[in-house]
């Protein structure tokens, strides 16, 4: 499984953790990981600490996740991207759209 999902006991903190490759192959499981979590005021954390490669579909997935998060007035935080991944995020101007925690 290239993707792991942890939900806190109160169901308000959802952590999605992606493996080395964050690309189109994970889109289905990525969507499944968040699509049913619609509790108002949840906290979504996208853990990219293990990710070494990310293509544009990953960026698209993050944007869709952001749309979903905004629908339920929740927050989104990207956690610990490595240098390469962080550069991709910077090029896409994601640091203007969401919190990126290094």
């Amino acid at each position: 499984m290239a993707l792991k999902k942890f939900v806190s006991d109160d169901g308000k903190k959802i952590t999605i953790s992606v493996d080395e490759r964050f690309d189109f192959s994970v889109h289905q499981s990525f969507r499944d990981a968040y699509i049913d979590a619609d509790t108002i005021g949840s906290e979504f954390i996208l853990d990219l600490s293990k990710t070494t490669y990310m293509d544009s579909s990953a960026l698209g997935m993050i944007l869709l996740l952001k749309d979903h998060v905004e629908k339920s007035s929740s927050s989104l935080k990207i956690s610990k991207p490595n240098d390469t991944v962080n550069k991709v995020l910077e090029i896409a101007q994601f640091h203007r759209l969401m919190t990126i925690e290094r």
């Binding site: 189109f24 889109h27 969507r31 544009s56 869709l64 090029i91 896409a92």
Partner: protein, 393 residues
């Protein structure tokens, strides 16, 4: 040796020193001093001769022809030496003047050209820098603008890629939903198939019951048969629908692949481009800073250069000074020439040689006086080039 001989030797030695001074281009003041010493020697010589001649009595009368002959030969000798040296001096003065004129005009021209070239160079550099910085024309794009545009274009490009990916993924989600719908249809078709086979079975039962009823059931047997063929038809129809949906599913698989390609763009090359643009931006800024620095340095250099050229041009006034010195030398030379002329007028067969000598001596002292007067009014008293006014060019 008597006093006359001493003075004669002194005069000749002085003349030789003068000549040597001119040949080795020693200062004009040297020539002047030596010619003065020469003149003084001559004057003293004449005084001596005059003294000899002015003694009345035995010495003059005892051997007058002998003394006159000696005096004449001496005068002729001095005169010859003088003429010889004067010719050389005249030649050297003329040569110095020509050399000086040529050299000075050459240096002066090259200085002026240097100034002109420096100005042209300054203009050209300014022009080049203007082109680089786009200061000259508001409409022209600078390097910096170009790089910034590239950066913007790159950002827009990334934005387009990301939004394409997002839309593709949305499409993907819709497609997945559609596939689920298809699965539902499959389910329904299975139920319909079930119905058809049950109908078929029912029709079969009906046909059996109709056969058992005999003639009375003949008509019902026909209906049962029709119902059975209907159920077969509906099974065929169901199979067609299933095939169509399977075809649609294959198309969806292709659609998935196409959307996947659309959604997945590798960002590596974009990353490289981005870092290239950033690097270029830094370089352009560095270049601009460097250009500004160079412009400042050039601006400082230009006045220094023209000042240096001015100093060079000003230093050329030595030509004028040397000309004046040469002019003085010319004057002294003419005096010498006059002296030579006076000496040549001596005639031993004259009625009164003593009186003639006295006349020559008088002329000599007149010449001496003129030289002294002239020296007092001498314009060139400067020793150093740094002194004096600069209004010669």
């Amino acid at each position: 040796m008597n006093k006359v001989q001493y003075l004669l030797t002194g005069g000749i030695v002085t003349a030789v020193i003068t000549l040597v001074g001119i040949v080795f281009e020693l200062p004009a003041s040297f020539a002047f001093v030596t010619s003065l010493v020469g003149l003084i020697c001559l004057l003293m010589l004449f005084k001596e001769i005059k003294a000899v001649y002015s003694i009345p009595g035995e010495q003059l009368t005892s051997s007058p022809n002998f003394d006159e002959a000696i005096v004449e030969s001496m005068l002729i000798g001095i005169n010859e030496t003088l003429n010889e040296q004067m010719a050389m001096v005249a030649q050297e003065i003329e040569r110095s003047k020509n050399l000086l004129r040529d050299a000075v005009s050459g240096i002066s021209d090259s200085f002026k050209e240097l100034q002109g070239l420096s100005a042209t160079q300054q203009q050209l550099i300014a022009q080049v820098l203007e082109n680089i910085n786009g200061l000259g024309d508001d409409h022209s794009k600078t390097m910096e603008d170009f790089v910034r545009d590239s950066d913007n274009t790159l950002e827009n490009f990334v934005e387009v890629i990301v939004s394409t990916s997002k839309q593709s993924l949305k499409t993907m989600a819709y497609t997945d939903d559609m596939v689920k719908q298809f699965d539902g249809i499959f389910n329904l078709i299975s139920q319909v198939e079930n119905l058809a086979s049950q109908t078929n079975l029912l029709a079969l039962n009906a046909a059996i019951e109709a056969a058992r009823a005999g003639d009375a059931g003949r008509g019902f047997a026909v209906v049962a048969n029709e119902v059975r063929s209907l159920s077969v038809n509906s099974t065929e129809l169901n199979n067609d629908i299933r095939e169509q949906i399977l075809g649609a599913r294959e198309i969806i698989t292709s659609l998935r692949e196409a959307v996947e390609k659309m959604a997945s763009a590798d960002m590596t090359s974009t990353l490289e481009s981005k870092s290239n643009v950033s690097e270029m931006m830094n370089q352009v800024q560095e270049m601009n800073q460097m250009s500004t620095k160079i412009v400042d340095e050039l601006a400082n250099l230009a006045p220094r250069m023209s000042e240096t050229v001015s100093i060079g041009v000003r230093s050329l006034q030595f030509e004028d000074m040397i000309y004046q010195t040469l002019g003085s030398l010319d004057f002294n030379f003419k005096q010498l020439s006059q002296l030579s002329h006076s000496l040549s007028t001596f005639d031993k067969n004259a009625v009164n040689p003593a009186a003639q000598l006295q006349a020559i001596v008088a002329e000599c002292s007149a010449i001496s006086q003129t030289t002294k007067d002239k020296n007092e009014h001498r314009t060139v008293s400067q020793v150093s080039m740094d002194e004096g006014e600069v209004d010669l060019f």
